[in-house]
Every structure is written in C-alpha cells, then in structure tokens.
Symmetry: C2
Subunit: 344 residues, 2 copies
C-alpha cells in the first residue's frame, strides 16, 4: 500500500462532525477504492457510523482520542491543550509516516498552529501559505496566501509562487501552471515595494516557472492565470469579498425568479439550466485549503461543508500526497539559494 494513499482524518472537526466526515469518506472510497483511512476521534461514536457504510469496510482504522479541539479555541490555547486531540493525533500520523496527508474540518487557526508545530516547515520556507481554490470562467485557479500571514516580503512572495505552482500541477492537473502576481493600477503607479521586488525576482531568477507578470483583482475570476500570488491579508480580503458578491448575486437571482407568476413559471422551465449552474458554483466542488510549505500535507476543509465537500478536500489531500510537489518546491528553492538571493 503506497504511503500516499493513506489519509489521516480528524473525525471530530467541523460543524457536522463526525457524521458528515464519515459520509464524506464513504463517497471518497467509492471513486478512489485504493484509499486507506485512519480516523481519529471518539471510537464509540465512530464505530457505528463507519459500520453503516459497507464501502468503508476493511479500509478504516479507528484510533480513539479522548478529546477534540473546539471551534472557539484560540490557536495559543490549542497549542497548550491540544495534545492527544483528534486533530493533533491526525497530524502526528502524517509526521510519523503512517499517513500521506491529514484532513480536518475543524478550527482553522488551531489547525494552522498545530500543523506548523507538528509537521514543521519545509527546508528553505520561512512562512507557510494558505491556499484557496477559486472558480473561474476557464475552470479553477489557486490563490495564495489567503490568510496564514498578514504580510509578505518579496522573497516570501516568490516562495509562495514556487509552492503554488507545484501545488497547482498536483491538484489542477495542469502540466505547466501559469503564475501571476496580484497588483493594482496603472504601469507607473504599480504596487508596493514588496510586489515590485518580487516581480523582478520572478522575472530574473531563472526559476522553473511560467511567470506571466502582474494581474489585477478581476483577472482572478477571468482565469487569466492558474496561480495568483499575494500576501495573506490581501488574499483573504479578495477571497471573502468575492464570496460576498457571489452570495449577494445568488440572493438577487432568486428574488428575480420569484418576482411574479411569470418569472416563477420561467424558473420552472429553466430548472435544468439553473441546476447545472448551481452544480457549477457548488462550493463543495472547490472545498479544501492547504497550508503549503510544511514538512507534510495538512488540508483544511470548510467547517460547514457537506459530505461531498469533505470528499473533495480528501481527494485534494490524496492528490497532493501522491504528487512530486515537495521535490519540485525543493528544486526551485535550491535555484534561489544558488543565486544567493533568498532572504528571511
């Protein structure tokens, strides 16, 4: 059994755990029958849930954990009190090599903090970065950092580009993902020093990357590039601003189609198209954020996700665990170090 096909699961994290978690795993093994699972959590609760899915039979090991990280715990509390929790133990399994990747729908701040402590940083990476999958006109793009750090200097932005590119190849199925650096405005007024300096580094450092230069906020949804690189503050605001617009427009479309009898009848006739649209825009298809730059794979599922979304996050974890992502990142980081330009 290949190491990469074993996932360690925090079965107690998320708004609807452990039920949705186990249901998601059943969906996962239905189309990835080679996957093996180690579930960390309350054995008494998990055993009957697993037993209810014949597809999980023989593929799940349950490891009992006495407690879990709650959603209201601060990262510092989670670090102090988290040892032995389902989240912590799932990450330990990745560190020990018992699993290729960990997946949790639990507390984001706690997961980032415990992941960094347990898995440590990859050599040459000073700041890990959180990814998001963004639906675009052309498919999907990766945005990073979306909130692991509030700031990023030029060298960190370059590292984000390197990690994001290898990650996009592993999970989007693109052989040669394109990269853009998020910026604003006209040629003359472009960006802060960090962004301009990172642009120069990406253009001149002879990295093995298809760097396409600056992109602006509206390029993300247009799918102009596969990987959008930015600092965690800007990336988080962009992601949430976009989610807000999508939510507002969904409400407005609903209102428009229930306006009167004619529009309601129209909505019934258009149901097949609207269902396809809902399916296209279903967040469950894009669930899973990864903290890149660690010595192991840790995937964050949305806390409120359904079973399908949890399965999506697990597929992403498995893709990354079986990819050449760590070697590719290491090779590009070595190129920077050879040029003597890496900074802290």
């Amino acid at each position: 059994m290949a190491r990469g096909t074993t996932l360690s699961i925090d079965a107690m994290g998320g708004d609807h755990a452990p039920g949705v978690v186990v249901d998601g795993l059943a969906l996962l093994v239905a189309d990835r029958p080679d996957t093996r699972l180690i579930l960390f959590g309350d054995e008494a609760a998990l055993t009957p849930l697993v037993a209810a899915h014949p597809g999980l039979s023989g593929k799940c090991e349950i490891v009992h954990c006495e407690h879990k990280i709650t959603s209201d715990m601060k990262p510092s509390q989670a670090l102090r009190r988290g040892k032995g929790s389902s989240m912590w133990n799932a990450l330990e399994a990745v560190k020990d090599g018992r699993a290729g990747a960990a997946v949790s729908a639990g507390n984001t701040g706690a997961l980032m903090a415990i992941s960094m402590l347990v898995l440590r940083k990859m050599d040459g990476v000073h700041r890990p970065a959180m990814t998001a999958v963004w639906p675009t006109l052309k498919g999907r793009s990766i945005v990073l950092d979306v909130g692991a750090n509030v700031e990023a200097d030029a060298a960190q932005l370059v590292t984000f580009a390197i990690m994001g590119e290898a990650y996009a190849r592993a999970t989007l199925g693109k052989e040669r993902p394109t990269i853009g650096l998020l910026n604003i405005g006209s040629e003359e007024m472009k960006g802060h020093d960090e962004v301009r300096e990172a642009h120069e580094m990406l253009r001149t450092l002879d990295l093995d990357l298809d760097y396409r230069g600056f992109v602006e906020g509206d390029d993300i949804s247009m799918g102009s590039v596969d990987v959008i690189v930015t600092d965690g503050f800007t990336g988080n605001v962009a992601l949430k601003a976009g989610e807000g617009v999508a939510r507002m427009l969904a409400t407005r479309v609903r209102e428009a189609l229930t306006r009167n009898l004619a529009t309601k009848a129209g909505a019934v006739l258009a149901a097949s198209g609207l269902a396809a649209l809902r399916e296209q825009m279903n967040p469950s298809n894009a669930n899973g954020g990864v903290l890149l730059g660690l010595g192991g794979v840790s995937v964050k599922s949305h806390g409120g996700t359904d079973a399908r979304g949890f399965a999506t996050a697990c597929r992403l974890a498995a893709d990354l665990a079986t990819s050449h992502y760590p070697e590719e990142v290491a090779a590009n980081l070595a190129r920077i170090q050879q040029r003597g330009t890496a900074t802290g």
Copy 2:
C-alpha cells in the same frame, strides 16, 4: 445661482466622449433642472451636440480647450503637458469657484495627479483617498481607499473613516452612516499593526462617528456597514475581485438560461424579473469615484460609461458640492488634532 449647482465638465474625457458626456448631461438636467454646466472641450464638436438637446438650452456654457489628456498618458506626463487641457481647465474652474465640482470620465491617474496639484489637499489631510460605491444586499455602501495610495498608516485610515462618513451622509442620504475597518481572520490573529492601531484610535478618539469595529471581506456585499475603510491596495483588489466574480456569474447565468429550448423559454417568461435584476446591478447606477480630501470636488466617471452612468456621476458631484461634507470633515479632523494624536 448657488455655487454648488454649477458643475464643470471635462467633455473630452472617456471612451465615448464627447457624445456620451453631452447625452448624460441632458439626462442630468431633465431631473435636476437647477443645474448649470460649464463644458470644457472642443467647441466645434460640442456646439452641435449641445444644440441637439433642447433641455440643455441656456444651461450650458462651452469653454474651448485646444487639447485633451489621452487615456495612455502617464500621470507625470499629464502634469507636465496637461495645462490648458479640458480636464485641467475643468478642475481650475472648481479652484476658482466658478463651479462646485468637476466631473471627468478621462484618464484616472492623470485626474488624480492634476486634481491634487490644482485643488490641493484639504487642511489636515495628508493622503487623499479614492471612493467606490458598492452595491449590497441592503442598498449601497462606500469603500475607500480603492487605489489613490498603495499603503496607509493608522492615522491615514482614521482620516479615511472621517472623510468616508461625511461623504456617505452627503451621497447615500443616511443621517448617521456606520463605519467598519476591513480586516481578516480570528480575534487573536487580526490584521497588521496599522489596522489594529487605527481600530484603537477610532474607538477611543471621541470622534463624531458611528464606528462599528472590524468587518471582513464578505461583509461588504452584505451591507453590514455603510462605509468600509481600508488601504488603497487592499481596497482596489477587493473592488476588482468583486467585479470579476460578478462578471463571471453574469456569464454563467446567461449560459444557464440559453442551455436548451426549455431554459430559453423559461428565460422569456422570467424576462421581467431578469430585467429588474439587470437594472438593480447596472453599473450605471453606481458610477462615480471621488478623490476625497482635496480642497474641491473632483469626480471620476468610469471611462467606458454610458450616458446614464455619466449622469449618475454628475448627480453625485452635485450632491457632494451642495453638502456640508468639508465642514464635517474639518470638525472631526480638529477633534484629532486637539487630542494631539494626528500623525503624518
């Protein structure tokens, strides 16, 4: 004739100038008959366009200008070569008190640069800020800065809050606009130093403002507050990211409704609702960015706007020119200075 009801118009700025500009002015005077207009531009081109709108008769003065700022000019070029252009002269008219506000659909960077040079900064304001009107679930909110500066320290963010609040009162018709500071993440990990320091200042400085604390990116479209304060880099990215999502979703809805015969028939039946939606989301209803913090009102219309959008930008200019915005901003800035906390 009240000063505030005279607008100076850069009739040559924008993708479809001067035709769309003059058509927009005709719409404006149709519902604001007290408005007087000074048009700066090519007299030979403007005279017949104005004559074609009987409603403009007796309300327009045309001032001939030999040249105009082109869309590809850099701000530095515009400053060197812009004197005597339609844009420059429109701003001079505000400075001289011949008009209460200037409106241009021309080159944004040039308009910002020339506005700052000609109108100068308001006392106590170190960095002007560009506003945007953002459609929300509750109506409209104001976001600033959306790109006049790439960075902002805490004192500048506080100034943006003061200017944005008075601006929202003048243009949204809210007696007591609420204010939020854009930030990310959980309590413990919140934001950079600048944002945290601005939060403390807004909470403790005893300003005449209804400050509601931190908001996140998705709060903008929810209409959680009337004024969203952020630095120009983050604000510009958020605005464009949101525009990108809206454009992508519009494309997807169109695809969904033209998917097959049934959906096409449904779209016909739902036409009234969809038309109302299009109207609600029409960018012409939210056109007009203002560079706040100057010694006079300078409004930027979108370059590609239609006549309705240009009229919207002019209404906004007139509302601001006739408001108590400058006095209100001055009063709050004086409160900061009394506390001795204003910084550069």
